[in-house]
């Protein structure tokens, strides 16, 4: 039963990641790309981690995965924010690229 749930969650997260990559190639504006990737990546990461937690059961490795999830929730927005801020302060304009 656990294996089925974990497989389902892993497939859902793969779907999220594939959509993220489609978004990266489909959008023509840098700011739209960073908005999409910052969200879809985090969702895919969390979902695949929950799926792997179902597979390992309750043990120390589950707690390690939880620790990594917590770190990812803290650090992922930080780096996204740093990139977006760098582009904004360097004067990269919003709007369509040519």
């Amino acid at each position: 039963m656990n294996i089925i749930i974990s497989n389902l969650l892993i497939f859902v997260s793969l779907g999220f990641m594939i959509f993220g990559i489609i978004g990266i190639f489909r959008f023509k504006d840098f700011y739209a790309r960073i908005l999409i990737s910052s969200k879809v990546e985090t969702v895919g990461f969390l979902t695949i981690m929950v799926g792997l937690m179902f597979r390992t059961g309750i043990s120390y490795s589950t707690m390690k995965i939880m620790l990594i999830c917590l770190l990812a929730i803290i650090t992922n927005p930080l780096s996204t924010h740093a990139i977006a801020r760098s582009a904004y302060l360097s004067g990269y304009k919003t709007g369509k690229e040519n």
Binding site: F16, F19, A84
Partner: protein, 163 residues
């Protein structure tokens, strides 16, 4: 008294992390974990921080859990809305300003962190309690109510994060 309980809870959390990293809960691990966490807290207290450690980082556990649960719910909501955006191919963005009604540094940083992860927004710049937010043109920002007098849901939760 409050300070002492704060220090004890910090030491407990650090020892727990040490045990998780060691993957074993024997007597040796617990003792070394206690010694290392006490040493690191007092080292940070005397050499790295200007204030006391507890004043700086003590948080209300109930608020933190509420924040995390609400954040994860919002992350999933924004993930599904992002997929809709990708299919419909909308990419007009705008930059707007938002003045938060919080005035504590740590809470504002946590708010900016939450804004980055939730519907259609990335925080670009922070100046005092003023935040610059990048978002999609047609997005109703929902949880982060721009141009409104009242505090949003996140700010209500983060208001009580200090003990």
């Amino acid at each position: 008294m409050k300070k002492i309980t704060g220090y004890f809870s910090m030491i407990f959390i650090f020892t727990l992390i040490w045990i998780i990293l060691n993957e074993k809960a024997g007597a040796t691990q617990i003792v070394t974990g206690l010694i290392l966490s006490i040493f690191s807290i007092f080292f940070a207290n005397y050499y790295l921080l200007e204030e006391e450690y507890v004043d700086h980082y003590s948080l209300n556990i109930k608020s933190v859990i509420k924040y995390l649960v609400y954040l994860i719910f919002q992350i999933y909501k924004s993930g599904f809305s992002a997929i809709g955006k990708i299919i419909k191919k909308e990419y007009d963005v705008r930059i707007s300003e938002y003045t938060s009604c919080l005035n504590d540094e740590l809470s504002i940083c946590l708010l900016a962190n939450a804004i980055t992860l939730t519907p259609g927004t990335v925080t670009i710049d922070k100046n005092g309690s003023k935040l610059k937010i990048l978002s999609f043109e047609k997005d109703n920002i929902g949880t982060i109510a721009i141009d409104s007098e009242t505090c949003s849901e996140f700010e209500k939760i983060l208001g009580g994060i200090r003990e």
